[in-house]
Amino acid sequence: MNFFNVIRWLAWKDLLSEMRSRENISSMFFFALIVILIFSFSFSTDQQTARELMPGIMWVAFVFTGIIGLGKSFTAELQNDCLENLQMNPIPRGAIYLGKLASNLLFMLIVELILFPLFVIFFNLDVFEKIPLFVLILIAGTLGVSSVGTLFSAMTVQIRAREVMLPILLLPLIVPVMIGAVEATGGLLRGDPISLYRPWIELLIVFDVIFTIVSFWVFEFILDH
């Protein structure tokens, strides 16, 4: 059984389901939008503070939205005991991990990229020449969240209280990712010289690499006794 074939089929299945029901992307998008509005409401006292808080608001909204998407990713496998079926099949566990990671990452990135113009409008940002770097930070931060997230999502889906356990376990672990992403985004938007926030981007990339490798490796023990 070809490793990459399994990844491809798993991602195909998730994308097809998504295209049919349009559940995840549309609902994640609106969830994020509403979270951003609620945050801006609750925190922003004036235009200036709002802009300062914006990277934090943005990343908290992305992470929460991501958690919702991650949670659904494996609960979808619970219907009709599909998860048991994956477990019983002669496929490498790592391929399952990567397939799921691919679809999760894709969904999150799509949502984030749709949201981005809204941020520009809401917070009056001026970023057009910084877009490539911004996208890099976005991808790095999102991968950091979804690499561990996919692992934990597979784990928590098999226990009681799953809806809560995913954020409880995941959030503390990704604090460094969040800090890195918030600082890098903040630096970029403030127009700091790149040397000031470059370490944060490097931190993000280091985390991505470590988290993805470790998760890939331990995933085996989650879907198998």
Partner: protein, 225 residues
């Protein structure tokens, strides 16, 4: 080399030992029917054999491979048909089959799939989302899947449940065909009449231990346990 061989399998739950040193053997081309009262541990035994959980003690072999150590080998042989149908609600019947087979490295052509669906009597629903299927229709789709996969070891938990009479006939026909081609079938059942038609061997699981019985006793009126 026997198809399935259980050697002193035990399973304890927190409060309670469900299986006590259960040993049995199912030859290739043989169908073994397992009876027992509600709560006897039949489903539990099948789950052990399907590599879904690890027995508290004991071991088992499939096609000569150790079921715990070499479980990835074993998974290539086995197929389980259980209460959960392992189907994705948003995909239609054909897509579900494609996906299930892809996980085993198979890629049937459209005609083959159509033939299998027609044979189990749901050809007209080929492009219906599974979400709309009735219980019996899902079970029939599982048979179609099994027809295309042709596993060497078939584990079935109450295969006749929620099937109508024609469906049961279909199921028995499929079992006979599988054993005819050398597959080992282990099924649990509460339906003596149907099982007697295909079983070559039978056993009763009662109070944690397995006792062999004669197949002709299945037709007799007296109680099994």
């Amino acid at each position: 080399m026997s198809g399935i061989r259980g050697i002193q399998l035990s399973q304890s739950y927190r409060h309670y030992q469900v299986l006590k040193d259960v040993s049995f053997e199912v030859a290739q081309g043989e169908c073994y029917a397992l009876f027992g009262p509600n709560g006897a541990g039949k489903t539990t035994l099948l789950k052990l054999l399907a590599t879904l959980q690890k027995p508290s003690s004991g071991r088992f072999e499939m096609m000569g491979h150790d079921g715990i150590r070499d479980r990835n080998r074993v998974r290539e042989f086995l197929l389980m048909i259980a209460h959960g149908s392992y189907l994705y609600g948003e995909l239609d019947a054909v897509e579900n089959i494609r996906f299930a087979l892809a996980l085993r490295g198979l890629s049937p052509d459209a005609r083959e799939i159509k033939t299998a669906l027609d044979r189990v009597g749901i050809g007209a629903f080929a492009d219906f989302k599974i979400r709309y299927f009735s219980e019996g229709m899902k079970k029939r789709l599982s048979i179609a899947k099994a027809i295309l996969i042709r596993p060497k070891v078939l584990l079935m938990d109450e295969p006749y449940s929620s099937l109508d009479e024609r469906g049961m006939k279909l199921m028995n026909q499929f079992i006979r065909e599988s054993t005819g081609q050398g597959a080992s079938v282990l099924m649990t059942s509460h339906n003596r009449v149907q099982s007697a038609e295909v079983a070559g061997k039978a056993g009763v699981l009662f109070q944690g231990t397995l006792r062999d019985i004669a197949v002709k006793d299945l037709a007799a009126a007296h109680e099994l346990f």
